[in-house]
Amino acid sequence: MIRKLRAGMMPPPGARRPAARALDALAESLEAIIDARAAAAPNPGWRTFQRLNRAEYQRSIHELLALDIDARQYLPLDTKSANFDNIADVQLLSPMLMNSYLHAASEISRLAVGDPNATPGETTFKVTRWVSQRDQVEGAPYGTRGGLAVIHNFPADGKYVFRVSFHHETTGALHGSGRAALHTAEAPEQIEISIDGDQVALFDIDRWMHASDPGGVNILTDPLPVTAGPHRVAAAFVRQFEGPVQDLISPHDWSLASTSIADAYGFTSLPHLRDLAVRGPYEPTGMSETPSRRKIFTCRPAAPGAELGCAREIITRLATQAYRRPLTADNLDGLMSLYEAGTTAGAGGFEAGIRLALEGILASPHFVFRFEEPPAGAGADTTASSAAFTLDDFDLASRLSFFLWATGPDAELLRVASEGRLAAPDELERQVRRMLADPRAEALATRFAAQWLRLSDLEKIHPDVRTYPDFDEQLKAAMVRETELFFHNLVRQDRSLLELFTADYTFLNERLAKHYRIPDVFGNEFRRVTHPDAARQGVLGHGSVLTLTSHAIRTSPVLRGKWVMEVLLGSPPPPPPPNVPDLEETAASEGGRLRSVRERMEQHRSNPACNSCHRIIDPIGLALENFDVTGAWRIKDNGVPIDATGELYDGTPLSSPADLRQALLSRPTPLIRTFTENLMAYALGRRLEYYDMPTVRAITRDAGTRDHRLSAFILGIVNSPAFQRKGDAAVAQVTDVNGEP
């Protein structure tokens, strides 16, 4: 109720409304009563132990082994709760999950140590159909178009075969070979394969190749020698034309978003890469040094007797980092016996022993789970519920690094923790500021903000190819990047949270700037751009948010309104009753004229059952109607001039995105608190409960005295008992993770 009062949603529109000051006073006095009670009996809350999710696992492997993997290849999807994928109590365990961690440990340890006896395998990199292949793609050589560039980890020195396959028509004919094709027998399309920028193969593409051919629409290279470790592999077409193309249609920038209109008159079609596969190694010859091997083998046994000492040194260092705390004697004994087993089995030897110990480290519950143990002698041996306790320095270091970096603590944090100094307020603040300045703090943008703002919803959005021909996958990626860079900048520069809504700058590359009609931005690099456009200011002017709240063919004021209410204000509207007619049910045209979204909304809202909620939701979204499905500015919808007027739930008249922004900012408390709640849930790995609200209010009050700087929120959370203490499971009234009472 406090939330709705603070947002101005209570009393509901239409009801008699006391003065704003009286309402604020009511909310304040309610808050004061609750906060006073909470201060008397603070409850830090409880959660079960977290496990590493995909993002954390991937980053941890990078830190530990200097190896970039794609965790999606190994681990099942993370279940989300309250917006986030790191909420402990929905991280259920199962044999399948166990198997996934074991499999990952086995594969990754082999990849990191390298396997001179590796048997050939195949890795395929796909290009989605929605990617435009007109222009150079990031990482591919200049003078090429389309294709893709990837970093691939080669398991051993040896020979590798590269396969490129192309998109084909449903008939089986190579796509881009028809009437409108550019290539001829004299000047065929060509594709180049390069490794670390050096061309290793160049092929003419046979325009008559067909899916029913024995080799299909594929080209294979001869076996080519490549050394072990990560290399950038690119497969891209040689660019054979420059300048504008005047086509009747160009769906999604000539991507294959629609294959049905791809080969027609008035449409320039070119071959599209479908995937690139790397196979090998054939005839492996050994292992070159790789970043991972350098990271692992910090010592080499000089004499046969020196092996054990060197192994112990390597294993101790790796396991300490992986387990995020000093090893016990038992930990080390277990790993050393794995080492011994590895040296004697099969081909054996020192490296095989290290590899098996590494597999053990990666499969260990100490790595996969984040346990927080009560201090010794705190009654942990009894079956009784343990009392609340303050986390030790190592667990605090882990909480901190997973919160700010989405990975385990670095050497500096572990050092401070081992000296027992981390919990000291000055040192803690020093560490937080150090960590926020580190590039790894990008996780707050790419993980926290991306999930909070629901950027991943963009993955599912494919605007209609005919209505929005200028959209493509690259634009979509640029939109996500914009919002992430924008948020990361707030963190890095320690700006005010309110700039999230008011900033007159953003981060753009040429593609996105053109989309926004902001001039003088050239090239693929993103850079900070200040612009005078009031409508574009803040995150409500970001293409990402505007697109992810749209349908393929029309904007959705309802989704946009709902997004603002849920994500920014923390007050989700109630669900619609069943059997409501969809907006699609309203006539899309009237007397032969297409109606605008607004006209259809008005008709929809004439139903009283719908009106009670939609009068709150819709005006928010309607204020953004000048942004089309892809977030581009428009003045007409289906030929009808845009009417963005409406009345916010508190009676404020709205007619533009700037009005909406101002109206929301006139009452900033719900915006700030909702942000804090989300940040705190992400930091703690649990959903917030009623007893956390006094903490949220204290943090926001305090942040208010520090210009709402991002660091004030982050430090507020880090300094809260909820972050530094672990409560009593029974007091926190959390159901057991296995659903048992």
Partner: protein, 464 residues
Amino acid sequence: MTLITGKHLPRRTFLRGLGVTVALPYLDAFVPAGKQWIPSVAGAAPDPTRLVAIEIVHGAAGSTEYGASKNLWSPAAVGRDFDLAASALSPLEPYRRYLTIISDTDVESAEAVIPKEIGGDHFRSSATFLTQAHPKQTESSDVRAGASLDQLYAQRFGQDTPIPSMQFCIENVDQAGGCAYGYSCVYTDTISWASPSEPLPMIRDPRLAFDQLFGAGGTREARAERRRARRSVLDFITGEVADLRRTLDPSDRRRMERYLEDIREMERRIDRIEAQNTSGELRELPGAPAGVPDSFDEHVKLMFDLQALALESDMTRVFSFKLGRDASSRVYPESSVAKGFHPASHHGGRENNIEDFTLINRYHVSLLPYFLDKLLSIEEGGQTLLDKTMIVYGSPMGDPNVHNHKRCPLIVLGGANGQLDGNLHVRAEPGTPMANVMLTLMQRLGFEEMQRFGDSTGAFSLSA
């Protein structure tokens, strides 16, 4: 033993063809032709029925009044002489001797019980299909539905294979922001429940599925070496867990007990695989498929390839397979309908929209013959694998326009080791729970003593 002739391709040949065309079945011909069924561990039934349970979301056009009158799902005649021409089931006409249609059963458990649940049909529906139990409205870990049909079966009859059961899906399950109407995402993401509180995740990536079914490693020796390493690692983890349990608080400790069971399960799997390997069976397994294909069609076929291969090589006998995800707006170009699945399902009761929706239903059904043909092509002792398999295909929703769960689509395919006659259409009395059919299926699968399944009110007569 000797291998009978063979389309027995070496691994490299397989790799060369991999991912090349959509039309080529990826995993064909890698299991030697005419392979003997692997004798199962002593004491178990010699050749239990294989079970595949497939869910499609959003009901069917035939569940509407108009659709029923036009026989868009259920044919007009009951018994054996029914006409499928108008029905979305028409692609199954050539397989009618393996087809049992059960019309007009309801999934009452998917309906809202209390006002707070009204409107949440999409986020609760899938959890009811194989459980026929009403899901508890919660976003926390205290999820509750029922043990699912496939899991009950796997727990009793799937224990002799290296993997008791597998769960596959097609749609991406990570919906941003979690799920709606106060329901945990697991209700929408999976149809398999090991117990009322244990939803099982489903695998979308064929590569992941492949590695889990057949193990990583390029050769037999490499796979054996990896199994040895896995054993040592499992021993090591067991030791670590024992230490840990001393220091954790009681709730966390309970969670670790569960984890320990998972470790033992992994050990059991290795035992079973090794027991099979020493049974004299020589099999060269193919390399793993590369990843999730773009196209729905291709993806579904690849998942069917894996299921057929796994059933044939007896790696597992139980599959659940989720073809869709509730409220998905996926467009199926092959269906010739341009509308998304969910928008099209809200047909508004208009005849032309309902007809369009039928095309989508028919398209989904048309994917089944690919799988049926595979199972038919595997013959042993005068019986095909399809004769030994029971495939349940249906939806826990009826008319998706109004989110109801009445007159839901349900068919059963395969001979189920003589338990299903095929070529049969049975129409249920109005108000009959789908759970009654599930109960009867369970009884025929070997649960003779079972009296109740989900919200069943009695057995269901599957005769002409």
